[in-house]
Symmetry: C2
Subunit: 346 residues, 2 copies
């Protein structure tokens, strides 16, 4: 099968990463890049890529079928629309656009031109996420009623566009989009309530930390947090089911499930005398009433950018439906807008 | 000094605990009890206490100066008022009353009779709390902007009154009252926002789990959770400051502070390639830019019921102000009412 020829608009760190991990992919051929910064064009040239001096030059190159848009977020909309109108299929970096209204405009052009529009919003294949999702769906925790998803660092945000509101900075747009997408991908229910606290610890323009609470129609809740000033981190995942609890510590997938194996006679009417006084409610369980399942990395999961590109190639050829649809991205954007509203930021 | 003579109304597990740990206290003399259940009267008799057959008999015993009310919660109000009107000082078990309106009625009678009314709402002397509070107040974390306080078990709630709404059951009344009291005792600021989710995992009438979010005037936030179905627990305390993070694992006070000691040059522009893909924001800190302080039990703290009683004795004699005031309990009740309202329960 003929290779799909790719052009890149915005050749920063993320696009360079795409190129690096996919340059030898048998179905892809990276032709060239356009970047507003000529220095990045030189870098591309040194890699053997064409450096287009205008975006029009790239978009009128008839060899290019698929355009990756990896610029700062505030120009995703206009560039996506231009690329679609130039007859290209488009992969846009996340967050797809800054508002749901912008995305609706892009979706209309995708429909009008018949060209595919997708988003690299794919932490759906992250192994820690799959491990959590499989454990829940296998029923190991009984009915699940609460999910906590956290990504935390301690170095603050990198300087540059992430700190600027006009460029779509802040952690809701940067990491929130992934963590919300994972939860919506897993929980196929309407959201009934959104509550969010955004913090600006270091950067007054944007949320460099946020704490988001979602309630779904069934009553299931999710707490999603991204933080950049946490010197001690919470676990990546913490999930409560009626029959057990799951914890996954980090991206390396180390974790455990502790679950009830004796529903009868678990309650002894003793009072436990702790260092902080007596308690009946918080007395520990008898060890024989629970079991611990150690968790580890699922080895069958392919978590790679190629998953996104291979799906787009299949969708172009009509052999598979698009996996990451603009409709899904729209739902995520609407949750983010509700979060900003709850936090008093719009 | 003459011993203070104590009578007990409601001689269940909690009152028996008071008696047991204070029966040899040099300033206290426990005279007798009244309980609606005659079996408990027999238990009291076997301990050498008077078993009053009516509460009036106890309240008209002129030897008794101080009455402990340790009944179920729904009768705290009427019993407190009766005891105050009978000329007794009163220690009421927590939660003081079911509503702030009820407490206001008790406070009016305390004022009218000139008798002291206090509440055994004193996890303020718990060592884990003191350790956290001291660490924060010593500035070890820099400016603190978020506090998480959790108490979690996995055995569900004990059956009985805790599961019944009419008797003041549920975890907000049972444990929430303490955790809210600790935070309000520490943070002397108005609360600007209360958001709460109450869950009824096993007992439909009451909140057997809750998740409460408080926002204070300065922007400081607190997340308070009590859970009875968590097979893996979060740390007891987790506190975020601008310069460090504190974690205390449990009542035994094991924990640590990790704090920044190099504010300059902490940001390297590298991208870290994790199991879940590349990240710049979540790259780890260089070890030399942080320090870890191990925490352990503060040995100078007296955490004992005697603290509450000794303060009441001093307050009776006018040698010290009352430590746990009904005004403080009123604030806590108002937060609980706002929590129930946020959760859609009132």
């Amino acid at each position: 099968m003929k290779k799909t020829v790719v052009g890149i608009i915005g050749f920063g760190g993320m696009a360079a990463y795409h190129y690096d991990v996919l340059k030898t992919h048998p179905q892809l051929s990276f032709k060239g890049v356009y970047d507003v910064n000529p220095e990045r064009g030189k870098v591309a040239k040194a890699l053997g890529l064409v450096s287009y001096t205008t975006k029009e030059a790239l978009l009128t190159d008839s060899e290019i079928e698929l355009v990756l848009i990896a610029t700062t977020n505030e120009v995703h909309k206009e560039l996506s629309i231009e690329a679609l109108r130039a007859g290209k299929h488009v992969i846009c970096e996340k967050p797809v656009t800054l508002t749901s209204q912008e995305l609706l405009e892009v979706m209309a052009v995708s429909k009008e031109t018949g060209k595919i529009f997708t988003i690299n919003q794919n932490r759906r294949t992250n192994k820690d996420f799959i491990l959590m999702k499989r454990s829940v769906e296998a029923g190991l925790l009984g009915e699940v009623y609460h999910i906590e998803s956290r990504v935390e660092g301690s170095r603050g945000m990198p300087s540059g566009w992430r700190t600027m509101k006009a460029l779509g900075g802040g952690m809701l747009y940067d990491w929130g989009v992934h963590l919300i997408d994972q939860i919506l991908f897993m929980i196929d229910e309407p959201i009934t309530e959104v509550y969010c606290k955004c913090l600006s610890i270091e950067y007054p323009e944007v949320d460099d930390n946020f704490r988001l609470h979602l309630t779904f129609e069934s009553g299931l809740t999710a707490q999603i947090e991204v933080a950049t000033n946490n010197y001690i981190t919470h676990p990546r995942w913490y999930v409560l089911g009626k029959e057990g609890t799951l914890q996954i510590d980090d991206w390396d997938c180390k974790g455990k499930i502790v679950r009830c194996i004796d529903k009868e006679s678990v309650w002894e009417h003793e009072i436990v005398y702790t260092k902080a006084g007596p308690t009946k409610t918080m007395a520990p369980r008898r060890p024989e009433s629970i079991e611990t399942i150690e968790l580890s990395e699922p080895l069958d999961v392919v978590d790679h950018l190629s998953v996104v590109y291979e799906n787009v190639i299949e969708a172009i050829h009509g052999t598979a439906p698009l996996a990451i649809t603009p409709e899904q991205a729209l739902k995520v954007l609407k949750v983010m807008e509700a979060a900003f509203k709850s936090a008093g930021l719009i």
